[in-house]
């Protein structure tokens, strides 16, 4: 079957919905008689339409629906953990701390903080217990980098909770 043009399919939909002028309807009905593929398509669309009409039933909510709504009217909306004011202050603090740490880092303050920490796990030594001392390399620069990374992650969370989310929620409520 040749694919029908979008305009012809649109005509079929309008025909099914009863939105056609009488003259257009007569013309289309004549075409339907002459073109079996057009008729076939009309039947496919009719099947879909009748299914959708049949499926368009109303759902019935529970008997206690209204009571539950009325009981919920007094419930206070859940407040954010941070007030916008506190959140902004905290956000600024986190950003300032990160900037300071970055400045110190770029000035090379932490460049000479590489060392090894000696750890001795055996409080009593004797000739049967071998020496279990080991060392952990400690690099201050890496530690400060990690702290800055965590600070920035915290700053992003605070930005979301205290600025972005309340702003979008407010914008959505204005729409109503």
């Amino acid at each position: 079957m040749n694919k029908l043009s979008p305009a012809k399919e649109e005509e079929l939909l309008r025909y099914l919905d009863g939105e056609m002028e009488p003259s257009q309807k007569i013309k289309l009905e004549a075409e339907l008689q002459a073109m079996p593929e057009l008729k076939e398509r009309l039947e496919e669309l009719r099947t879909i339409r009748s299914f959708l009409v049949r499926k368009s039933t109303f759902e019935t909510p529970s008997k206690t629906f209204t009571q539950k709504v009325m009981a919920g009217l007094d419930a206070q909306p859940v407040k954010s953990l941070f007030s916008p004011h506190k959140g902004l202050l905290l956000l600024m603090g986190v950003i300032i701390a990160s900037v300071l740490a970055l400045m110190l880092l770029s000035n090379g303050v932490f460049d000479n903080t590489s060392t090894s920490l000696l750890v001795d796990t055996t409080p009593i030594k004797n000739r049967w217990i071998e020496d279990t001392t080991f060392s952990i390399p400690f690099n201050g620069k890496i530690l400060v980098n990690g702290i800055i990374f965590l600070n920035l992650a915290l700053a992003l969370v605070l930005l979301d909770r205290t600025v972005l989310r309340p702003w979008f929620q407010k914008r959505a409520s204005v729409d109503y």
């Binding site: 496919e44 879909i48 299914f51 019935t60 909510p61 209204t66 539950k68 709504v69």
Partner: protein, 186 residues
């Protein structure tokens, strides 16, 4: 039967403090609201919760209702948005499509060819993109016209018109394809 004017009077009284009158509006629109939520969430308890939440939000925003649109349209938009945000929160139910097919398939053994087609249309519906599916389902709910569906979904009228037409054509194509496939496997 409450007219639009009666509704406005009722809203004024609710806003003036007669909160209990809100039950009249809830009773009038609960079936519509619940149906909208069901079309979106496809789960009774989630839909009930979302529809109730929508009514509660509408109550809290009632003073913002500017009466340019009908109260019902304004309310349905809130319910629609609430159900959509519930859908984002609720974990996807991976078996939902399969379950609906199995349910229909079991019935199909004893029913007519027309019912067999329904199974495939349900299958085809699940293949539509979500916005097209919702537009077409809401449009076919009695009493919702295209303007209301557009308002509810926060999209313009032409977009909704295109979505509904495209969905109907696509469903017809899918149904044809599925029936052809079925005929080949017999």
């Amino acid at each position: 039967m409450i007219t639009t004017e009666d509704e406005y009077v009722l809203i004024d009284r609710i806003l003036a403090g007669e909160k209990q009158l809100y039950a009249t509006l809830v009773d009038k629109y609960k079936s519509y609201a619940y149906t909208i939520a069901m079309k979106i969430l496809e789960n009774r308890s989630d839909a009930e919760e979302a529809a109730q939440d929508g009514f509660i939000k509408a109550f809290h925003y009632l003073k913002n209702f500017n009466r340019q649109a009908k109260f019902s349209t304004w309310l349905y938009r809130i319910v629609f948005n609430t159900a959509i945000s519930y859908k984002r929160k609720v974990k996807p139910t991976f078996q939902s499509i399969e379950t609906s097919i199995i349910e229909y398939s079991e019935q199909a053994d004893h029913q007519t060819e027309q019912d067999d087609k329904q199974v495939y249309i349900v299958k085809a519906m699940n293949r539509l993109n979500e916005a097209d599916r919702l537009a077409i389902q809401l449009f076919y709910i009695k009493e919702f016209n295209m303007e209301e569906v557009a308002e509810m979904m926060g999209q313009n009228l032409n977009t909704i018109k295109v979505r509904i037409h495209r969905a109907r054509l696509r469903l017809a194509d899918e149904l044809k394809g599925l029936l052809k496939q079925e005929a080949l496997t017999l």
